[in-house]
Amino acid sequence: MISFGIPYLAVVGLILIGLFALVFKKNLIKMVIGITIIESGVNLFLITLGYREGSIAPIYTSSPGGIMSLPVPQALTLTSIVIGVAVLALMLSLVIHIYRHYGTLNVNKIAEGEK
C-alpha cells in the first residue's frame, strides 16, 4: 500500500529541500535552484493526482480500451512548466546584472553593502 504513496512523499521531500535551499544557503544561484526544485515538486503533485492504476495516456480519439488518466491536471502542469521557465529566465538575468554591479554572489555581502 505504501507504493501508492511514494510520489506524494517525493512531493513533500522536494518542497522541503527547496525551502531549505532557499532559507539556509548563501549563494544567489543556489536560491534560484531552490525555487526550481519547489516548482518541480508542485508539478509532480499535479500530475500524480490524475494517475489511475493501469491506465493509458489520454490522447486517443478512438482508444484501444481501458481507462485513461485524467487529462485536466496534465494541461495545468504544462501551463505551470511554461510559467516556471519564464520566471527562471528573468531571475537568472537579474543575477547576471547583480554580479556585474557587486562582483560577488554572496547574499550577506550584498545586503551589507547597501546600508
Partner: protein, 119 residues
C-alpha cells in the same frame, strides 16, 4: 431648499458631514482674524527686538541653519533606541530571512487552527 442630509455619511454610531465642517472652519477663521486685529498696529520690526535668539550661540548664514531631515526627530529616535534596534535586526535586506518569516507565519497559523479546535 436642498436636502441637508445629502452630504452626510452615517457611520455606525454617529455621522460625519464635510459641509458642516467647512462652515465651522470658516466661522472660526473669522473669529481668529477679528482677534488678530485687536493687537497693536504700530510695531516696527527693527532693532534688537526682532533678532533671532539661539541661547547665545552665533548665527551662521541662512543656508547652513536649515535643519536636515535626519536630525528632526532626534529626541524620539534616541529615546526609543531599544525598539529601533529590535526592528533593524528584522529588516536585514537578506531575501532568505523574508522566506523564513513566511514559513514562521504558516506555522503560527497552523498552531492557531489547532488551538481553535479545528484540526
Amino acid at each position: 431648499m436642498f436636502d441637508l442630509e445629502f452630504f452626510r455619511i452615517n457611520t455606525g454610531s454617529g455621522y460625519w458631514d464635510p459641509i458642516l465642517w467647512i462652515f465651522a472652519f470658516i466661522i472660526i477663521l473669522v473669529i481668529v482674524y477679528v482677534i488678530r486685529n485687536l493687537g497693536k498696529k504700530d510695531f516696527k520690526k527693527s532693532g534688537e527686538k526682532s533678532k533671532v535668539f539661539l541661547s547665545g550661540n552665533p548665527e551662521y548664514d541662512k543656508e547652513q541653519m536649515h535643519i536636515k531631515g535626519s536630525n528632526l526627530y532626534w529626541g524620539f529616535t534616541e529615546s526609543m533606541k531599544w525598539l529601533y534596534d529590535i526592528l533593524n535586526r528584522f529588516h536585514t535586506g537578506n531575501v532568505s530571512d523574508y522566506v523564513l518569516w513566511f514559513v514562521v507565519v504558516m506555522a503560527a497559523l497552523f498552531i492557531v487552527m489547532t488551538i481553535s479546535g479545528g484540526i
